[in-house]
């Protein structure tokens, strides 16, 4: 009872916060000239033009997701499974691309791969690639995918890492008896964490699908840019909303496919015994390849794009100016991000539980319902929020006039994300752990506090970090709803980006990185000790 009430409470909470503004928007888009009409949907589905656009979006997203997996899974694997020089340094650095707005990464890459870019010249000089084709690449769908995948791989990396840390050694030991290292990884370890990888991939996919900055920078004709055009050239928010519909459809399809793929299988692996918590391998060749891989990755995703940032900063004064511009934003970012991430983690925890561990008949429905909000474009969410919350009445004004509205924005945008991650980590907790608690007559809260939460430790860490980074990076919705004086760092960055000296922009970007990495780093330390009881699955 306690259990169901709690879960239903969080479910209701999320529905109220997220459902109404979005429903409002879509309702509006169905309502034209005083009556129900499908004008805005009609040609989305019936014209060739949109077929092309949608397929282009799909290509963009899939390629990005695949690239992200190709980078993220090995990275996470090496971080979790072996130990090498600078491991933790790399681990922290690899968050940078996730922190920096894709738009900025895009600019960095167009800079270095553009005709005049040094990398382009390098390539054309040594690899005899015609400069045209290189810059053509970066301005193409695939260029965009490339940029986005670099932005998103840390997400998959961290999920992979923590999922791997949940795989108890005994399962690998029993494999190593008869199989080689590779066979075990291929046949046992990776399949065991496949749900996590898979959902990471899904998140990357949907994110690239609904990302706007990069496609617009590269002037790609995809759904998001179409939506934007409708919004900002034609001021036709209904049409724009209608265009978001295919996004949601695709998301649902992807999600359903995942649910099917995982049905029947079990990934309950925690609590099995073994010689140690989880296997770390110390083959020299493995360490070396780990080091090599991470170094190369580091060069590609960090050094190449961002060295330009560094060199463009000449004086220290620049930092002072940048700081002056951003100090308000810094505080806000960290505070809002921290609170937001924590809320997301809590809500995600319970929703994830509800959709993964209950016997509810509707739970698949619920998880789908929660998930679709991830596809709602930021602008739609923002405008929906304004229309819903911007009312003269006290309570509304109170929320709308304070950073409450920003938090609500975070919840709409990212609870689908956090609850998905949680759900997939919950998959790894055996039912029996909870049952054993229940028969002792423990209240569900006690079980949650003393059994589920500690066992979910890795999931919680991963979720918090990811949520935190995403919250800090949120722009589309926050921009529309933030009350004066509540701007966050990215907003500070983007509002001065246009027409301010490049070195200021660079300095701001670095500030943004620092301000995000610092808490994350601290959080790593805390999480090491906070869950003092070492859980050794």
């Amino acid at each position: 009872m306690q259990k169901n009430l709690t879960l239903i409470f969080f479910l209701a909470l999320f529905s109220c916060i997220a459902f109404f503004p979005i429903a409002w928007m879509f309702g509006g888009s169905l309502y034209e000239g005083g009556s129900i009409s499908f004008v805005y949907y009609h040609d989305i589905f019936l014209t060739k033009k949109y077929a092309d656009i949608i397929s282009r979006s799909l290509i963009l997203a899939s390629v990005a997701a695949i690239f992200a997996v190709l980078m993220g899974v090995p990275a996470g694997f090496f971080l979790a499974k072996t130990n090498f020089f600078l491991k933790n340094f790399y681990k922290l650095c690899f968050f940078i691309p996730l922190i920096i707005p894709p738009y900025t990464i895009g600019i960095a890459w167009t800079n270095i791969l553009g005709k005049a870019g040094f990398l382009n010249q390098f390539l054309s000089h040594y690899l005899f690639l015609p400069p045209q084709s290189v810059s053509a690449f970066i301005y193409s769908i695939y260029g965009a995918s490339f940029i986005l995948s670099m932005n998103l791989f840390p997400l998959i990396m961290i999920m992979t890492e923590y999922a791997l840390k949940n795989v108890p050694s005994s399962l690998e030991e029993s494999g190593l008896i008869s199989g080689s290292f590779f066979q075990v990884m291929k046949g046992i370890t990776l399949p065991l964490i496949s749900p996590v990888i898979f959902s990471g991939m899904m998140i990357a996919f949907v994110f690239s699908l609904s990302e706007f900055g990069v496609p617009s920078l590269l002037q790609l004709n995809v759904l998001t840019t179409q939506i934007f055009t409708q919004f900002s050239a034609f001021y036709n928010e209904k049409a724009a909303t209608a265009l978001a519909f295919p996004l949601i459809m695709i998301t649902i399809i992807i999600f359903a496919s995942e649910q099917c793929k995982m049905r029947g299988k079990s990934f309950e692996i925690l609590g099995k015994s073994g010689s140690q918590a989880f296997m770390e391998y110390h083959f020299t060749w493995l360490r070396v390849s780990g080091l090599v891989f991470c170094t190369v990755l580091f060069l590609i995703v960090i050094i190449l794009p961002f060295c330009s940032l560094l060199i463009s900063i000449d004086t220290f004064k620049v930092y002072r100016d940048a700081f002056a511009l951003a100090k308000n934003g810094i505080v806000n970012s960290v505070v809002f991000g921290g609170i937001g991430a924590s809320i997301l983690t809590v809500v995600g925890f319970f929703l994830g539980y509800a959709t993964e561990k209950t016997r509810w008949r509707l739970k698949e429905g619920i998880s789908t319902f929660v998930w679709i909000f991830f596809a709602v474009p930021a602008t739609v969410a923002g405008i929906g929020l304004i229309k819903l919350w911007n009312r003269p009445h006290g309570a509304f004004q109170f929320i709308y006039g304070t950073f409450g509205i920003i938090l609500i924005g975070y919840i709409i945008r990212f609870v689908p994300l956090s609850s998905r991650i949680m759900a997939n980590f919950f998959r790894q907790i055996p039912q029996s752990m909870e049952e054993a608690g229940a028969v002792t007559g423990a209240s569900w809260f006690r079980i949650t506090g003393n059994i589920l939460a500690p066992l979910q430790k890795n999931g919680i860490i991963a979720t918090w970090i990811i949520s935190f980074i995403f919250c800090i990076g949120e722009l589309g919705t926050t921009l529309l709803v933030y009350p004066p004086g509540h701007e966050t760092l990215p907003i500070a960055l983007f509002t001065v980006m246009a027409n301010s000296p490049e070195n200021i922009v660079s300095a701001l970007t670095l500030l943004l990185i620092g301000m995000t990495l610092l808490p994350v780093g601290i959080f790593f330390l805390i999480s090491k000790y906070a869950f003092a009881k070492k859980i050794t699955p």
Partner: protein
């Protein structure tokens, strides 16, 4: 005792001005700025969405056309600032819904490493010539000042002319990029030889001492588009009175001068505000002779065409 202003003028230019106002009057200014990424339309959406229960008092807009849009949607209200008398008539809405002040203009920015003084284009119509093939950038004409520019162009040189011109540009492999900032970036990095952008962007490039120079196109032809900043008072804003005070301040000579001397190098609409050497005053350049209300209307008409022209 505060005033809420939404500013779609770039933050680094507008913030100092507002701060100055704060110091001068002691009225706290709570400002929200717009971002380049959203083509400075985020605030517009916000204003429209907040129509039922406005949060802002003043909207400081980078161009004279969006206020026209707001006017039609009934977001703004009319206010004739006493000080506005000094502003030339054609930079003001006779309905009083918006008033213009220091202006930007559309210019051709070219890279002096790639283009010598005597090859430099003097007219935008030069850009269809073969020597500029694949060497010109322009921002997406559906958005921002470029959209205005196109609309104005359609008015002054007739739809047929304009359409033909644009198609020629297209055929000449013009690069359509996301924003004027991008145009600036590409030109100054030498990705392209020249591009059509705004004075403020251009000027920043120069101050970042990239090898670039400005041309005010069609001096002795149709002239180029001049786009004053505008300011308008929001209907039922929370602090109407302070709003008016702020408007009066923004329209003052002092501000025009400040903006002229700032990096954005905005051109004062008053003839007698002294400016740094590199900043022309309005009368020094030939502006297109258009009425901004018509421009606004024209945009509505042509953006269908522009959409498919830009390939969206």
């Amino acid at each position: 005792n505060e005033v809420v202003v939404y500013s779609s003028e770039d933050k680094i230019f507008s913030e100092p001005v507002l701060k100055a106002f704060e110091k001068k009057t002691g009225i706290a200014v709570r400002a929200i700025y717009d971002t380049e990424e959203a083509k400075s339309t985020g605030l517009l959406h916000r204003l429209l969405a907040e129509r039922e229960n406005p949060q802002a008092d003043v909207f400081w807009c980078g161009d004279p056309v969006r206020p026209a849009l707001l006017e039609t949607k009934g977001v703004t209200t009319s206010y004739y600032s006493p000080i506005a008398k000094e502003i030339p008539e054609n930079y003001k809405d006779e309905g009083g819904h918006w008033t213009g002040f220091s202006a930007r203009a559309r210019v051709i920015l070219y890279n002096t490493d790639l283009v010598s003084m005597d090859e430099k284009p003097l007219s935008i119509f030069d850009l269809v010539k073969p020597e500029w093939r694949n060497q010109v950038a322009i921002a997406n004409p559906l958005f921002g000042t470029t959209a205005l520019h196109m609309a104005a162009l359609f008015i002054v040189s007739g739809d047929e002319e304009a359409k033909k011109f644009l198609n020629d540009l297209k055929r000449n492999g013009i690069k359509i990029v996301s924003s004027n900032g991008e145009v600036k970036r590409l030109v100054s990095r030498g990705e392209v030889k020249a591009g059509i952008t705004d004075t403020d962007d251009a000027n920043v490039a120069i101050l970042d001492n990239y090898p670039v120079k400005i041309v005010f196109p069609d001096k002795d032809g149709i002239g180029t588009l001049i786009m004053p900043n505008t300011v308008c008072l929001i209907k039922n804003g929370p602090n109407q009175e302070n709003g008016k005070k702020l408007i009066d301040y923004l329209l003052s000579r002092e501000v025009e001068k400040k903006l002229a001397w700032d990096m954005c190098a905005q051109m004062p609409l008053r003839y007698d505000v002294e400016t740094p050497a590199h900043v022309f005053s309005i009368n020094a350049i030939t502006g297109m002779n258009v009425d901004y209300h018509n421009v606004a209307k024209k945009m509505e008409e042509i953006n269908g065409f522009l959409k498919q022209w830009a390939g969206f």
